[in-house]
Amino acid sequence: MLKKIILFICTFMVIYTFNFFIPRLMPGDPFSYTSSVSGEDIDGISEADLETMKAYYGLDRPIGEQFINTISSNLNGDFGQSIHYKKSVIEVIGERLPWTLVIMISTLVSSLLLGVSLALVGLRRKKMDGLIYTTATLLSEIPAFLIGILLLFLVAAQVKFIPLSGNVTPFKSFASWPAYWFDVFIHALLPITAMVIITTPIFYFTARGSFLNVLKKTYVLNAKGKGLSEKQIRYKYIVLNGIFPVITRFFLSVGACLGGTILIENVFAYPGLGKILQEGVMYRDYVLIQGVFLISSLMVLTASFIADLINEGLKKTRGINQ
């Protein structure tokens, strides 16, 4: 357990340090970029001006001091100013993060439910199971953004009431809350569908493997011997005992899901973290890129840490038998 905590802290520290040093390792420096018209040689900026600029941004101090200053300002919630949006990075992320979470959480929850149900269907009907297994194998290898593009052109561009992009209809005032929520829903529908299509196989495989494992246990045989009905065995024994790997998988999938969401947001121009990440890249808004990277890493690391906690807890309660 201690090992996991150390790994969690170390990983975050490595990411943090990396995030701090990467702009300093990058070829070129921002001042030559800001002081020249793109592509031209710089002759307008004097040594003295350069010194003033460096002093203004605190870049003339020793690297260790810069590092400590960055940590202390980050701890105070200051992640710098976004160059493109002319707002503080934390503000920009605050506006966009909820939309990413909308997609990620709905994707993970619906994929989990769908995956587990498919696995249960497969338990009852062997032929169906083979079909589902093959389809899931094929789908699990395809990246979500390709499915997203297909949906965009085959569904959104053809069906009138499904919008092509965005999160809500711009400049529209909604009569009631349900109307607003419906608008949000219909905008998120296709991105979530694309994500669910490729995330469901992950949960299906985990649930299937886990359920089949439970089926082999002697207590299931015992339950059958007692004359319990199929239904009781299925829900009380198999699902209850086999669900924990699926829940762990839920938290472990956050990383992959985040990656998929970043891309799918760019397919549907959905204004979440992925979209600002791409915009940050396009407008060379390095401060914003770093902020988004830190927040998203923290999210993924925390999720996998929770998965570890669940696993540890399970090992303890179940003892050596498990």
Partner: protein, 274 residues
């Protein structure tokens, strides 16, 4: 020596045949096909015709020529990234499994660290800071593909290293290189290769993802870049151009990835069965 059984597996043969056919088609496209992949050779957004098999894009560049070029870009990136990941993963995983103790502890720690870092965000960050070029993309993809391989190799090594025949070989004074070469490599190489093949597929996906976000070399045509250009073209939704501009790279990408990943899966199943 008997031939490995997976050479006779029907499914693998079919999948490999698909790849070979794609290779031949695209080799024709880049070597014999008359149109250039970077210079306009027709009008803007021409539909497929006899002269332009798959039509042209907004700049009048032939789509099929671009597609052929993209295939080799993708495969090359996949192969190079997989080769680096193969070496790194094999060597580090092998060392960790063989020596145990602090070597194992520290290498395992690095492996777990790389497994924990969310991949796409860090790849975007590195791509953004180090600039889009093929070499950078290969290095970035390789850097985040070796850890799973190393983990598997390490596990396999740990499982083997305690067996009696290795102990016997060690007690006879067999050195590190001798034991690895004669006793461990034959066991580990198949696992290592299967995972390296899987990395080819993954690398192609990741390059396409980065290119789709505008983070790959803008000068080398890749399928991700083609899709990026097509989907960002204004008015693409209101005309038919997406059928010959967007769909071909999309389906080629899907097909290639599926073939490679399924081949590695099939071989893996074979290995488990044997």
């Amino acid at each position: 020596m008997k031939k490995p059984a997976f050479l006779f597996n029907q499914r693998i043969t079919v999948l490999a045949a698909v790849l070979v056919i794609l290779f031949i088609i695209f080799a024709y496209g880049s070597l014999i096909y008359p149109h250039s992949w970077f210079q306009p050779s027709g009008g803007s957004l021409e539909p497929p015709s006899v002269t332009h098999v798959l039509g042209t894009d907004d700049l009048g560049i032939d789509i099929f020529a671009q597609l052929s070029r993209g295939f080799f870009t993708s495969i090359l990136i996949g192969l190079m990234a997989a080769a680096i990941a193969f070496m790194l993963g094999g060597v580090l995983g092998g060392l960790a499994g063989y020596f145990k103790g602090w070597v194992d502890e520290s290498i395992s720690f690095v492996i777990n660290l790389f497994l924990a870092i969310p991949q796409l965000p860090i790849m975007i960050v590195m791509g953004a800071f180090f600039g889009p070029s093929i070499v950078n993309v290969v290095l970035i993809v390789a850097l985040f593909s070796w850890a799973p391989i190393a983990k598997i190799v390490r596990a396999k090594m740990v499982e083997r290293i305690d067996s009696n025949y290795i102990r016997l070989a060690k007690s006879y004074g067999g050195g590190f290189f001798y034991i690895v070469k004669t006793h461990l490599l034959p066991d580990i190489l198949p696992v290592l290769s299967v995972n390296a093949i899987a990395v080819i597929g993954k690398a192609i996906v990741q390059e396409a993802s980065l290119a789709f976000l505008g983070l790959s070399d803008p000068l080398s045509k890749s399928w991700g870049l083609m899709m990026n250009k097509a989907i960002n073209f204004k008015g693409i939704y209101f005309m038919d151009a997406w059928i010959w501009w967007l769909l071909p790279p999309l389906f080629c990408l899907m097909g290639t990835i599926l073939c490679i990943r399924l081949i590695s899966r099939e071989i893996e199943n074979q290995l488990i069965n044997d």
